[in-house]
Amino acid sequence: MRRRLTLIAAAATLGLTLAGCGGAADKPAESAAPPAEATGKVGVFTWWADGSEKVGLDALTAVFTKDYPKLTFDNLAVAGGAGSQAKSVLAAQLKAGNPPDSFQAHAGAELQDYIDAEQLEDLSSFYTDNKLTEQFPKDLVDRLTVGGKIYSVPSNIHRANVVWANVEVLKKAGLDPTKPAENLEGWFADMDKIKATGKTPLSVAGSWTQVQLFENILLSSLGVDGYNGLWDGKTDWKGADVTKAIDAYKKALSYTNTDRDSLSDWAPATQLVQDGAAAYNVMGDWAEAKFAQDGDKAGVDYTYFPTPGTAGVFDFLADSFTLPVGAPNPDGAKAWLTTVGSAEGQSAFNKAKGSIPANITAKTDDFSEYQKSAIKDFSQDKIVSSLAHGAAVPVAWLNDLSTAVSKFGGDGNVAGLQDSAAAIAAKFAQ
């Protein structure tokens, strides 16, 4: 009944005014009560609604409710389309001046959009208060800092240039699972052997996983400087080396499952490797959590290695949490961010999610073999920003490029992809 009344009230005001309150932008986020005293509900928005990602979130909330028994965690997770559904819902809520208390966003260019739209509170003082700056790697803090301010608390670091392989399938094709190929040519030769056994050499799913594969091939083929140059204009998209990279991507696609566009998200593609229907899957290391969750053993059932040609490079993305302007419970949100940034919270969360903690003081003794290797790699590898996950370029750029990559999946027109990628880069470079 109350809903009805609200509605009638709303309808009544409709004729009177169309102005009214927009984004509640003037509401101060700083408030007197320290997070420990906060009460009420904390609504946290993520796209971790399913599977291993949900398990990770559950682990984090368990720590949160232990740290802050007076607060209740309100899970606002939205499923579907690798976060695209979630992002649209979030965009609408932010636009409506009706934000959650905290929401998930990829660190880097994606965060930039929200900052530009003045939808995020500055968390710099939160960092100083909690001495967070020294607890995160400098590389990461640099990528989070915009105009001297920090707007989000990273929860985890993922690597996007990892190949996951089915040991059994490799052995049947006469390949040694412990000796992955060193470069793309060698890898394609291996795939030919797998193809001969009748298995799908490389599994991939819908649009964004294809972009991720494309990014891996670009990185492998162009090297770190060449890859980084694509986003800051130092690499010419029309150059011969890019043509060669796109040719390699075309070759890689020819080894993939033909029903790639029908697979709803990354998990079905990884599942193909788990089921022994496919040999390799290029996937971010959230796949590790899926293998673990399904009881697969590293080295026995599956193995992993950096995408051939990218050893020594860490293709990075990080999830982070924000404090939106106008959050209904800013104190509760800060309590949440405190847990997110804490060593304990990061240990629990990352262990379940397959990623590595952003907080370098977090305990990782009981992490999986893969995670330990990733932690080591992150500390010594060259770090580049992921394209597919909004770390390298703004969302609009990524969207346009995704369309071009999706188109390429159908027509295989190398010059076409190269031209449109160049045009898109030119459009956004200014």
Partner: protein
């Protein structure tokens, strides 16, 4: 208009004698064979929905995809029900008031536009009618802004307002066409007795409006129930209607086909019941979509 639309008006048929019994029998067999073939074609998706919803993980073998489940499992149904139940409740809460309010407004509009016409009534009617055809994409961007400015919360309240507003054109149309068939003498008589516009409505028009209301209510109920576009822009999984909940269930990371197909069946039950019980009126609503009825 609505009730009799598909009823045979004459019992005619091929009148001439029986020139060739066998030829007619062949024709008849052929006709039923065709009709049955089409029935099978139409029911294929329903069959798949039904069998897949009862399959468990042991039944995942693709080569058995079209066969009945080896063991009938209800895990998919259980998962679908727990996921969709809250959204189902919300959808009823949304759809029923929306249908009643827009039908009431539509009835009054139809009455004015057919029996109490004012200069320019036809133009106004056509302008209202155009609202039925517009692609909502053409208003969506400012609409999100407008809804936030007037402060209607996301989810059911927003959707209710939208279904009422954008349902007005068709409700008005159906009632206007319906009231055209009410003799104007009745109105005149009431007027002679000194009844005003509202009293004429309540005493003369409203009592004969039942068939119109049934058609409109069914139409609004089904179209609001089945809406996805508004739901996608103005709600999310936790405050949205069943179409959104279903799209999340079916669009998860690893599509659980048993659960999503069970969910599709669950989400379709209310409109199917309406269709089965009130099929004739349902068709009446469909017909009025064609403007002239």
């Amino acid at each position: 208009m609505a009730t009799s639309i598909l009823e045979r008006t004459s019992s005619g048929g091929t009148a001439a004698g029986a020139p060739n019994q066998t030829k007619r029998r062949i024709n008849r067999t052929l006709k039923y064979a065709l009709l049955l073939l089409f029935v099978i074609m139409i029911l294929i998706p329903a069959y798949v929905l039904f069998i897949t919803s009862f399959k468990g993980s042991s039944d995942a073998d693709p080569s058995r995809a079209w066969l009945l489940p080896e063991t009938w499992e209800t895990a998919g149904w259980a998962k679908a029900w727990t996921t969709l139940a809250p959204a189902l409740g919300r959808t009823f809460l949304l759809v029923i008031p929306a249908a009643i309010i827009s039908a009431t407004l539509g009835s009054i509009n139809g009455y004015v536009l057919s029996k109490w016409r004012f200069p320019g009534a036809n133009i106004v009617f056509t302008l209202i009618l155009f609202g039925m055809f517009i692609p909502y994409q053409a208003v969506m961007i400012p609409l999100t802004q407008l809804m936030s400015n007037i402060g209607v919360p996301q989810g059911i309240p927003s959707l209710m307002l939208l279904h009422i507003v954008y349902g007005l054109p068709i409700c008005t149309l159906i009632f206007r066409n319906y009231y055209e068939s009410v003799p104007s003498e009745l109105i005149e008589a009431a007027r002679m007795d000194g009844a005003g516009i509202m009293r004429t409505y309540t005493s003369v028009i409203f009592p004969v409006s039942a068939p119109g209301f049934v058609v409109v209510l069914i139409w609004q109920f089904t179209s609001a129930w089945n809406d996805y576009l508004f739901a996608a822009f103005f709600s999310s999984g936790r405050n949205g209607p069943v179409t959104i909940a279903l799209s999340f269930l079916a669009g998860g990371q690893l599509t659980d086909y048993a659960a999503s197909m069970a969910g599709a069946l669950i989400a379709s039950v209310p409109t199917l019941i309406v269709y089965i019980l009130l099929g004739k009126y349902f068709v009446g609503g469909l017909m009025s979509g064609s403007v002239k009825g």
